[in-house]
Structures are given as C-alpha cells and as structure tokens.
C-alpha cells in the first residue's frame, strides 16, 4: 500500500531480556534488516516469544537495548483477548484501523477495507458473527485480518499458524511473502522447520543464547540444531550474577554481523569478556 513508510532496521545491542533477573534471551547482538523475512527458531523456552515481546515493547530489557522506530504490529502467541465479550468479527478486525480512525472517526468508510481483509483470510461472510462463536483457527485468522488492516512496516508474529488448517496456512504464507515483497520487515517465531526452509530467507536460531543467525540454509544445519537442543531449559534459582559485558560495552561483533556460529562452540559474550 502506497502510504507505507520504509521500515527501519531493528538493532539489538547486547540485549538481555528475561523475568525476575533470569535471562530468557542472553546477550544478543545483531540487526534485523529492514525488509527482512526472518524466522525465529529454537526449542521451547529458547526465548523466541520473549524476544518478540521485547521488540514489540511489551517487556523491558534487563540489559542492553533495542533500537527500533516506527509502527510495529505484533501478534502474540497467547493473546489476552476476552472472547466472551459481545463483539462482532467486523469490529475485532476493525480495531486494526486504530492508527487511521483513532478514538473518534467512524469505521463506515473503511468497511470495504475491513471486508477485503476478512476475505483475504477466508472469513468472508463472518462480519456479523460474535467473536465467541469462532473456532480457534478462525479466530486466529480474524487476528490476521486485523494485522492486515494495521498495515505496519514491521510485523512480529509469535507462532502465527498454531491451530490453523493447512490450506489457510498456505494462504497466510502467501500473505507473508507479499508483505516481504512490499518491503515490510516480518519476523515470525516458528517450529515447522520445513516451512521455515521453504519460505523464510533468513533465520535466527535461538536457545536463550543466539546459536546462529543468517541465511536459513546456513543456520538450520544438523550441527546447529543439535547445539540448540543441548542448551539447558532449566531455570537455576542459584544462578550467579552474569559476568558478561554490560549492554553498552564494545562488542566483538559488528552491528551487522550475523556470523554468531563459532565452530568451537563458544558463545560470543564469553569471548568479549
């Protein structure tokens, strides 16, 4: 769409995110290039959701910083949506127009756009249905319609295809590719590796520590995946205070370095310390 501003790159500088001082993402450096179609891959508890929350501005950094600009659309994995609320599908999707309609302006003149967005996710004819009557997958698609209407230069998706049938996943992947072609930055946390290999040019493999970041074919190697699995999921109550570099300290890696894979298995922050 023509009004779209170019997305700004998202820079992660010595980024540590977590809960109660326990890091869920540990010393991550790098840049999500503007216009990238990036898959976030890693085992459960690897920090994928946490990283997306951080980039969306939902949680504060424990250390380091995220440099981002412009409007960011974010679809969380576990939404906080009250589905018993008496709201129609049309109104739910229409929320995506907030930036254009704000508090006051009517949504009637956007009705065509809302219907088109619902049709794009296969929900045409569902406009008047209360959101509580949708199935899990249909509801997810309604959220995608809202995302379409948000029309943001940067889109963050946390396991977006959970519970959606195969045919719709194909449609939605086509939508992601179209967004990519339009120059938007799209970051999606995913578990289906074949899907990632087929559709995502670049990948960040995360296991609390960044394991590898770069072109998908070079990241999703058996070696890297085994290393990601080996990194512990445990949350150690007695963990020592991290001796790694402070977020603003100079780093071995340049801002645009995606070569986090060290053949000898070192983590980058250990080297820098």
């Amino acid at each position: 769409m023509s009004t779209l501003p170019d997305p700004a790159p998202i820079r992660l500088v010595g980024l540590t995110l977590g809960y109660d001082r326990h890091p869920a993402v540990h010393h991550l450096d790098g840049t999500v290039r503007a216009g990238d179609l990036l898959a976030l891959v890693g085992p459960n508890g690897a920090g994928k959701s946490t990283l997306l929350k951080g980039m969306a501005g939902e949680i504060r950094c424990l250390d380091g910083r995220i440099e981002r600009a412009g409007a960011i659309a974010y679809m969380p994995q576990a939404d906080e949506i009250d589905r018993s609320f008496p709201l129609s599908v049309l109104d739910l999707a229409g929320m995506g127009l907030w930036r254009r309609a704000g508090v006051w302006r009517g949504l009637n003149r956007h009705r065509g756009a809302i219907e088109a967005a619902l049709a794009a996710v296969g929900l045409d004819g569902f406009e008047a249905r209360p959101i509580g009557t949708l199935s899990g997958g249909q509801f997810r698609r309604a959220l995608f319609a809202r995302l379409i209407l948000q029309d943001c230069p940067v889109v963050l998706l946390d396991e977006p295809f959970t519970g959606i049938d195969a045919r719709t996943v194909e449609d939605l992947l086509a939508l992601l590719r179209r967004w990519h072609a339009e120059g938007r930055t799209v970051v999606a946390a995913l578990h289906d590796l074949s899907q990632v290999r087929a559709h995502f040019p670049s990948t960040l493999l995360l296991a609390r520590e960044p394991v590898a970041w770069g072109p998908t074919s070079r990241v999703l190697t058996p070696d890297n995946l085994a290393r990601a699995r080996a990194l512990s999921e445990a949350w150690d109550e007695g963990a020592a205070v991290c001796a790694g570099p402070r977020g603003d300290a100079p780093h071995r890696h340049g801002a645009h370095d995606h070569g986090l894979h060290d053949p000898d298995g070192h983590h980058p922050h250990e080297d820098a310390a």
């Binding site: 969380p76 009250d82 008496p86 709201l87 739910l92 929320m95 907030w98 508090v103 209360p130 959101i131």
Partner: protein
C-alpha cells in the same frame, strides 16, 4: 386498562416529591446502567460493590465536618471512592493477594468506618439515610447533581467508548497501538465512582450499585451486542424506577429498596423469559439447524 395505568401515574401527578424522585431516578437510569454493562463484561461487579461502600466513610467525613450538606458529602464520597479504587489497584500490584480479596478487605473496613463516623454525630435516622438513601427527599441541589452526573457520564462514555471496548477485549493490542489504555481505565473508574456518588444520593451506600448492576445483568438476556445491551439496560432501569416508586407509594414501602427490588424482579423475569439463553428458552429448545 385505564385503572392500572392511572394508579401507576397518579402519585407522580399528585405529589411534587414523587416527581422529583422520579426525575432523579430516571437520570440515574440513563447513566449508571451503561457503566454497569462494562463492569459486568469486565467481571468487575465486585469492584463496584466495594467502591460503593468506600463512598460511605468519605460522605460521612463530609457530614461530620459540615452536617447534612450536599457538596461536602458529595466531595467526600468522590475522594474516598477514587482513593479506594486506586489503592486497591496499587496494593494488588504490590502484594500477592488477588484484587478481589483486597477489595473485600477494603469494603469491610470502609463500611465499618463509615457507620462509625456517621454515628459519632448523627442519629439512627441519619444512618438509615446514609445506608439506604432518601430518594423521596431530593432537593433542587441534589437533583441538579444527579442531572449533571448523568449528562457528564454519558458524554464521557461516548468519548472513551472505542478505547474502552478495546481495553476490555484486548488490552495487549491497545497497548501496542496506543498509550490510552491507562488513562481510559482511570476514566472508567472515575465514571464508576461518579455514578455511585449519584446513586448514593438516591439509594444510599448499600443499594447504590442496584440500579447500576441489576439492569446491566438483566440486559444480557435480551441483547447480544453492546449496541443492544446499553439501551436495554437503560430501559430496564427506567421501568424499575417507575414501578418501584409507585409500588412504594401505593403500599407504603421504603422507596430505595422498592426500586432495587423492582430491578431485581426484572432481572429474575429476564433470566426466565429472556430470548438470549433465558431458562424458558432452554427448556423449549428448538432442533438444531442444517448449517
């Protein structure tokens, strides 16, 4: 047909104090039920109950300072209501106790403190007025206050309607697109307090939530979306006001409780006969559709 209608209207034609009571209650019926609709949808019914009790010590403090003065009691009630709403939220964030437990604690403390404060200076009759209101003794100042509250609260609700709905449905989404979530939530709490202070004038601290919540809950059995729920709840509140007042006149009952009981009767009737999931509807369930 004329006779029951006549007896419904007669007390209002005949007596000025009945007309005042009716005007006050209708003003409340327009402004409080929509707030109640949002309260029930957000599962905050208990919150409104606690806040209505919290108004008592504030109003009582005003009464201690200035006697039965409307501005002093109103101001005291507003301050106490807002304070408890904010305190309950802050304490919940700072401690492990859940919000409803905190609200229950606050509401017991404020009820006891309020009764104590009123009794320091006032008589049993004053206390009854505080607890159950004095809708038949609304003077010009109280009527103007109710009118102002009703007007302001409808206008405010219109202004914050869209972000309020978004905050109810998907607070996380509202956070990502706008910073209005916090202010809207506070504005909504302020609306609850203001309407409870209005209800306090007419129905007293124990029943002030009556015209706010009962019509809102009853409306759930008649309408499916907000566009229906809000007008239906207003209508139910208005019917409860008229019938409660005229029944209280006819059978010499205390008016505040009569109005709330009328609203309660409408709730029970809606639960039985309402077309949306009413009990009778469920009994006479129709066969499922083709698609």
């Amino acid at each position: 047909m004329i006779e029951p209608f006549g007896s419904l209207v007669a007390p209002f034609v005949e007596f000025g104090f009945m007309r005042r009571a009716l005007a006050g209650c209708l003003a409340l019926s327009v402004s409080a039920p929509p707030v109640g609709v949002f309260l029930t949808l957000r599962r905050m019914s208990l919150m409104s109950d606690a806040m209505s009790h919290a108004i008592l010590p504030g109003a009582a403090a005003g009464f201690l300072v200035a006697g039965l003065s409307l501005p002093a009691m109103t101001l005291g009630g507003l301050v106490a209501g807002v304070a408890v709403a904010l305190l309950a939220g802050a304490v919940t964030r700072a401690t492990v106790v859940r919000e409803d437990a905190n609200l229950a604690a606050f509401y017991l403390i404020s009820l006891a403190a309020g009764v104590l404060l009123v009794s320091l200076r006032g008589s049993q009759i004053d206390l009854m007025h505080f607890l159950f209101g004095s809708v038949l003794a609304l003077d010009d100042a109280a009527l103007s206050l109710l009118g102002a509250i009703s007007t302001l609260s409808l206008m405010a609700l219109a202004v914050i309607y869209r972000p309020l709905v978004m905050e109810c449905v998907d607070p996380l989404f509202l956070r990502t697109v706008s910073r209005s979530g916090g202010p809207v939530h506070l504005a909504f709490l302020a609306l609850v307090v203001v309407n409870l202070v209005g209800g306090f004038q007419a129905l007293g601290t124990l029943l002030a939530v009556g015209l706010m919540l009962l019509p809102a809950v009853a409306a759930r059995f008649w309408a499916r979306d907000l566009g229906g729920l809000i007008p239906v709840s207003m209508l139910i509140a208005a019917i409860a006001s008229v019938s409660g007042l005229s029944l209280s006149y006819r059978f010499d009952l205390p008016s505040g409780p009569a109005i709330v009981l009328a609203a309660g009767a409408l709730y029970v009737a809606s639960m039985l006969a309402g077309p949306r999931d009413g009990l009778l509807c469920r009994l006479g369930r129709q066969r499922h559709l083709e698609a």
